[in-house]
């Protein structure tokens, strides 16, 4: 029985999502040529759309696609003299053989992830390359997501691939002594991809790219362009892949848990384009399924007994996500987690968050004193959340005039309209 067109389309789409990274990774491993790998993977997917309606959907689409892509690459190389020389030089499984048993196909995605995120590449190139080769996003999609032009993004990708070849960046999972630092680099790339999509909820970058007319046409509060939102889904997908490929590592699980716990609260963070503080968010709108999954994955991570900054941040997010309300939140635990985070990943932003947790756990004046100390140090100058936090704490202890001045300073520094609207509302309420 031949499948319907819709069934084929669904199968190819699912295979694109689940298998493309692996097809590309395997081909790079076999032929060492990134462009050839991507082109032939693309051709294999086109071939699937052309032949599956007639021949049926294969039992293991990924194996079919890898074999097809590999055969295309071999054909292409045979066609030119340089390619023939290269084919002869290639060691390992002979790419000219007819069919591979599915089980023989190696999963090279881990090699691909580590190579894409190699520290010799510029950071933005690591992000773009990861999204292109592993995520399968088109150059146009990545360009749109990062608010740059397609030719600029294409150039960035070409340069990165050229550097991998010319500077001799190895295609491998780094050896044990390099692994902790390199893995941290991979996690940083995935977390940046997530945050690029997540913070776009406020919509500012989108307006810059598409003009103010957009809000008028679609109503206030419409913020999230599909391309940017796709980044959070892609980051979560890649984190899941990494967790599967590195089951013994705790921090990839910590990062995945952190992403899921943030994602669970996405829809309640703004109402009609105005930022809603955590205390005022409608907790009924939080996604309980994602929270449960995030907490379960965090538990798995913690059970591995190798702590790290992502697990700590996920634990903080879990405290918030599982609390009934602000008053019922375990602020003492959150304060302890921020203190631990400040030790392994020191930053003034972490100290600010720590001060807020201390204010909630030990009384506003204690936390406020820490915030004032941080303000005096000048290390967070220009960061709007410093005066915004100060304003909030001053308001709560009844120092209204000082609170108003701090809100005005925060308004001046706030980067997005949603945040400005929130601060303006607080200022009016004083």
């Amino acid at each position: 029985m031949t499948p319907s067109w819709d069934e084929v389309r669904a199968a190819v789409e699912a295979a694109y999502r689940e298998e493309r990274g692996q097809v590309v990774a395997t081909l790079i491993g076999l032929f060492g040529d990134w462009d050839l790998a991507e082109d032939c993977a693309q051709e294999a997917y086109a071939g699937a759309l052309a032949t599956w309606p007639r021949d049926g959907i294969p039992a293991r689409p990924g194996a079919w696609l890898t074999t097809t892509a590999r055969n295309r690459a071999t054909d292409r190389l045979r066609r030119d003299r340089v390619g023939r020389t290269k084919l002869r030089q290639l060691a390992g499984p002979a790419p000219s053989s007819e069919r591979t048993e599915p089980d023989e196909i190696p999963d090279d995605r881990l090699r691909l992830i580590f190579t894409c995120c190699h520290p010799a590449l510029p950071f933005e190139a690591r992000v773009a390359l990861t999204l292109r080769t592993l995520g399968g996003l088109s150059t146009a999609q990545i360009a749109a997501a990062f608010l740059t032009s397609e030719p600029t993004m294409a150039k960035r990708l070409v340069r990165a691939k050229r550097k991998i070849a010319e500077a001799g960046i190895p295609y491998r999972v780094p050896p044990a002594e390099l692994l902790p630092a390199r893995l941290a680099g991979v996690l940083a790339v995935l977390y940046l991809i997530f945050n690029e999509g997540f913070n776009e909820a406020f919509g500012e970058g989108f307006n810059e790219a598409f003009g103010e007319g957009f809000n008028e046409a679609f109503g206030e509060g419409f913020g999230e362009p599909a391309d940017r939102q796709a980044l959070t889904a892609e980051a979560i997908h890649l984190a899941r892949v990494l967790v599967r490929l590195m089951p013994g590592e705790a921090e990839p699980r910590g990062l995945l848990a952190l992403m899921l716990l943030h994602e669970a609260r996405r829809d309640s963070r703004t109402v009609a384009g105005v930022l809603v503080s955590l205390a005022d968010q409608d907790r009924a709108r939080w996604d309980r399924r994602l929270i449960a999954e995030g907490v379960a994955i965090l538990d798995e991570a913690v059970a591995l007994r190798r702590t790290g900054p992502y697990q700590m941040q996920a634990a903080i997010a879990a405290c918030h996500a599982t609390a009934p309300d602000t008053a019922g939140t375990d602020w003492r635990q959150i304060a302890a987690l921020y203190a631990a985070l400040a030790r392994v990943a020191p930053s003034p932003v972490v100290e600010l968050n720590h001060a807020v947790a201390v204010a909630m756990a030990d009384g506003i004046p204690v936390g406020l004193a820490r915030v004032e100390e941080l303000a005096a140090s000048g290390r967070l100058d220009g960061y709007y959340l410093l005066p915004a936090t100060r304003a909030d704490l001053l308001r709560r202890v009844g120092r209204t005039t000082e609170a108003a001045a701090a809100y005005r300073e925060a308004l001046r520094l706030a980067p997005t309209e949603a945040e400005r609207r929130y601060l303006a509302a607080r200022l009016r309420e004083l």
């Binding site: 190699h118 010799a120 500077a167 001799g168 960046i169 190895p170 780094p174 390099l178």
Partner: protein, 111 residues
């Protein structure tokens, strides 16, 4: 792969050849290179005070004193490596004493 290591610092610390030869970090770096058989060529450069820079413009040869660029980090040595990949080059470069106070730039060589 062949790489050039450009060994850079700001010349505030300028050990003599004898002092350098006695430096345990430098000795460990030398031993590491020998063990790997990775060094094709290596040369320590005299300070930039001894440098002369030549430019030919419109057929005229302009000679100036000092290094080619006014920067804080100055090239004080060159090592040509033959090694597996950039990760090995990074490992080797990280062992050079100058990496601890200046920097070592790794440049793949046209082949």
């Amino acid at each position: 792969m062949k790489y050039a290591l450009l060994i850079c610092d700001d010349e505030t610390i300028s050990p003599s050849q004898a002092e350098l030869a006695a430096d345990p970090v430098h000795r460990a770096w030398d031993a590491d290179l020998a063990r790997r058989g990775a060094e094709v060529f290596g040369a320590r450069l005299r300070p930039v005070a001894d440098a002369t820079t030549i430019r030919v413009r419109g057929g005229e040869t302009l000679v100036s004193d000092g290094p080619f660029a006014e920067t804080k980090d100055l090239v004080g040595g060159i090592v040509i490596l033959e090694c597996a990949d950039v990760d090995e080059a990074i490992e080797i470069a990280a062992g050079h004493p100058w990496a601890q106070r200046g920097c070592v730039e790794i440049r793949p060589i046209w082949e």
